[in-house]
Amino acid sequence: MNEKVLMKGNEAIAEAAIAAGCRHFFGYPITPQTEVAAYMSKRMPKIGGVYLQAESEVASINMVLGAGAAGVRVMTSTSSPGISLMAEGISYIAGSDVPCLIVNVQRGGPGLGGIQPSQADYFQATKSTAHGDFHILVFAPSTVQETVDMISTAFELGDKYRMPAMVLSDGMLGQMMEPVVLPEAKEPDNDSKDWAVSGHGGKREHNVVNSLYINPQELEDLVKARFERYEVIKENHQMAEEYLADDADIIIVAYGSSSRVSRSAIDAARKQGIKVGMIRPITLWPFPEKVINKHVGHAKAFLSVEMSMGQMVDDVRLVVNGRVPVEFYGRTGGVIPTPNEVLEQIVRINGGVQ
């Protein structure tokens, strides 16, 4: 096993990707994710990999499309405004069934917004990444260690289902250091994709990686087939952590940084004798419906805590479907909620469910 080291979330993302056999990184600088690119620029040349600073996020994601289409494990990373610029490319990648990893170290928006941590890109990541009917896998780690572990999972599932995967981090998780044990390094496997465009060598028909289907019926059939794959993913790959949820009257649903704040608040509330727990989605798409559903019996209220004006709360409400109240608490614009603020919400809701 590797030694435990102290690492910044952003650097851990880069090192974990390398450990997962990624040798191709295309990106453009943006705060607060730049350490990912800087780390890659230092490491890739030493291990025979490719680091390329593109002229824009638009170019980055299309380089990812090219390298992914050529069959190699490839990634990019950016922060919120960069994802907006990449939207077009992500749609093409999804529509061409090309796997890749996209990291979003979220910051406050809209517009140029700010550079402090945010979770306001939930809708963008899970519902409206770009034009057309498609989904991407979305992972939301809450610690540096989990970020590292997620990177490999994201690559693997992306390859398995031939689709883009996103790790949705934020400025806090990216900038903070925590102890981390890096996974054992895997050798790159860049030659096992029989659909890739890497030259047919006269041994097969030519491969085409494409998202254009001019015949509506053909396109509908293809999209439907893709959605059947999505159902398989929904069935098999929902991930969530339950924290003190089994006896909870109130269940907080929170992911990433806001789940850490919530955990502190829950610990404080438990000391006051309030039965509160948490479901922490680890995959945001597929959304962990099953585990939330399981707790709707004993939980008398849900509280979605987010660093946004309320986005994931919609998905919690869809699952709970009116059976019990679903409340929301959030801060936005780069403001991180404090455990005390969340505790106040817990106490308020607890007063209402006695």
């Binding site: 593109a54 002229e55 090219g66 289409a69 050529a70 190699v72 890739a196 890497s198 030519h206």
Partner: protein
Amino acid sequence: MTVKGERPHALTDAPFHYCPGCTHGIVHRLVAEVIDELGIEGKTVGVASVGCSVFTYNYFNCDMVQAPHGRAPAVATGVKRARPDNVVFTYQGDGDLAAIGMGETVHAAARGENIVAIIINNAIYGMTGGQMAPTTLPGQVTQTTPYGRDVKSAGNPIRVCELLSSLDGVALAERVTVDCVKNVRAAKKAIKKAFEYQMAGKGYCIVEVVSTCPTNWGMSPADAIQWLRDNMLPYYPLGVYKDVGEGEQ
């Protein structure tokens, strides 16, 4: 030039969808002949763009990837960086390369990205039905310049080869046309040189083919060829704008 009866192997059997008198078919064939002659079909990856040439992935027998509008140079960069031993080319129109994709084009060229760009300059947007292109001539009537391109408001045309020739990463920038046998032969020679330069690792090569669009120009194929000679070639002179030469760089 030997006029061959059979199709080049690097072209599929799919019939071209292009309009009568359009020069895309000729240029496709030239690229395919070059791929055949160099014996590189098995290691070539083509990048299709958005425009009339969007379906090139159906026409070339090598592996093909379809890029978003304007992004072919970036997609080609990704392919080439992932597979340096492959031969990678983009096939783009003037709008794709010089309007929406100018950023990607200039930077791929500046990086000396080891790819070939074939650009079809027909001074108009073909696929969307005849709107102004970045190469539309001053005074030229299009669907979106119904009173003729007024450079005071619509800006001036872009001469791509001249523009790119100032960049250090460019190994070859040559403008050709295919209006007659002699020029077709010169065009093929330029395309072949571009592919050979890539195989020698010389850098970014662009071959701009001044082309016709009879349908959207509203002319017969013969008139279109004449219009090309009378109007386009004076504005877009044929020739080599940059060539690093055969020797070592």
